[in-house]
């Protein structure tokens, strides 16, 4: 390779190295702040003030959904820890037991009072009849 070109290639590698390590350091230091939600296990280990609005995410525990008039009460779990969520309002169509959910609200005395509930879809796509076969 021509020495001029080798020098330019070296510069490119240097720039790539610096930009990735720079961004990498920023992302590393932000790490947990870039998470979209807390899992129930994370919530148990850290202390969050009651007046701080947070998002929690996990699966809706099977047979945990109770509807009382306009209130929906359900348990969010990562199958290690469990958090009871109380929400007043309409849940999205895809909200159901055994599927993912993200709730925005406040943690008060072991209960999570949600202001907004979003359904989290997973990466599985399949026709309905196949799903029945897989369950059996």
């Amino acid at each position: 390779m021509h020495p001029h070109r080798r020098k330019r290639l070296f510069n490119i590698i240097l720039v790539l190295l610096f930009s990735t390590s720079g961004i990498g350091l920023i992302l590393y230091s932000l790490n947990k702040n870039l998470d979209y939600f807390f899992t129930p296990t994370e919530l148990k280990t850290i202390n969050i003030p009651e007046d701080k609005r947070i998002k929690i995410g996990g699966m809706v525990l099977e047979n945990s959904v109770v509807r009382e008039q306009s209130k929906v009460i359900f348990t969010v779990t990562d199958y290690k820890n469990y958090i009871e969520v109380v929400y007043e309002g309409i849940v999205p169509d895809l909200f159901k037991e055994g599927s993912g959910v993200v709730a925005l609200g406040f943690m008060q005395n072991e209960t999570f009072y949600a202001q907004e509930v979003l359904a989290k879809h997973d990466e599985n796509y399949m026709p309905p009849n196949l799903n029945i076969n897989n369950d059996n």
Binding site: L16, S19, D93, K120, H121, M126, P127
Partner: protein, 243 residues
């Protein structure tokens, strides 16, 4: 021999006179593949077991987001080629691709938002995947406006190439965002290592859509690169000869 071939093809003149031969084939083949796969995907695939019919937006969303990232990778390769070997054609490609990349990223963002309303219950959330894709869109716009702000093309090309290389770090971040952080966006259904978690009846038309859409976008890139050649080499006698 390979070296001579590259040298020849890398000259804007040979490229301009040769590319029309392949352009027609790419256009027709990808039009056939795309319209066939899209019809198959939209009309003849089964409904999804939880999402019903709304999942069908993946036949637009996945190709658009895949191609928006691929185009950036192609721009990065062109940038390195330009910076090391000073191939003029590579510089034309960078600025030819940028607006098309912005367009596909925009399609990905809009189609994702439309899908988000019935699925998540929201059209926009600041999770890592959505935010990094928005950054990609803004980067494309930034590159275009930066290039337009120069009157000296050569300076603009050099600066643009460096910026494309610096910004490339965003591409693996978009790709891995759903694995590194908790996000509202689901993780990838199609990976190189695992069995796809999307049923074959839905997967085959999706792959067809990706290939077909990619072909159509390549046609757009060819047209756009020809425009750059006309713009930058308009004083050359062979451009007049071509026109």
């Amino acid at each position: 021999m390979i070296k001579r071939f590259i040298h020849q093809f890398a000259s804007p003149k040979t490229y301009l006179f040769q590319v029309d031969k392949v352009y027609r084939y790419i256009l027709y083949i990808s039009l056939i593949i795309y319209s066939f796969s899209l019809t198959w995907g939209l009309l003849f695939t089964p409904e999804d077991f939880v999402q019903g019919n709304s999942y069908r937006i993946i036949y637009l969303h996945v190709p658009a987001s895949f191609i928006s990232q691929s185009l950036y990778a192609i721009m990065a390769i062109a940038s390195i080629t330009y910076l090391i070997w000073r191939v003029k054609l590579a510089a034309y490609f960078i600025i030819a691709i940028a607006p098309i990349g912005a367009m596909t990223t925009f399609i990905a963002l809009i189609s994702g938002s439309i899908w988000g309303i019935p699925t998540w219950g929201t059209w926009w959330q600041w999770d890592a995947r959505i935010t990094s894709t928005l950054i990609l869109f803004i980067m494309y716009l930034g590159l275009i406006s930066l290039h337009n702000s120069f009157s000296n093309y050569e300076k603009a090309d050099k600066l643009l190439s460096w910026l494309v290389i610096v910004g490339f770090v965003n591409i693996p971040i978009i790709k891995k965002s759903v694995d590194w952080w908790s996000t509202l966006h689901q993780s990838a259904s199609i990976t190189l290592t695992d069995k796809p978690s999307i049923d074959p009846s839905m997967l085959y038309p999706l792959i067809g859509c990706i290939i077909g859409f990619f072909g159509l976008i390549i046609c757009l890139v060819i047209l756009s690169s020809k425009y750059q050649i006309f713009k930058r080499e308009r004083k050359k006698s062979w451009v007049k000869e071509y026109v």
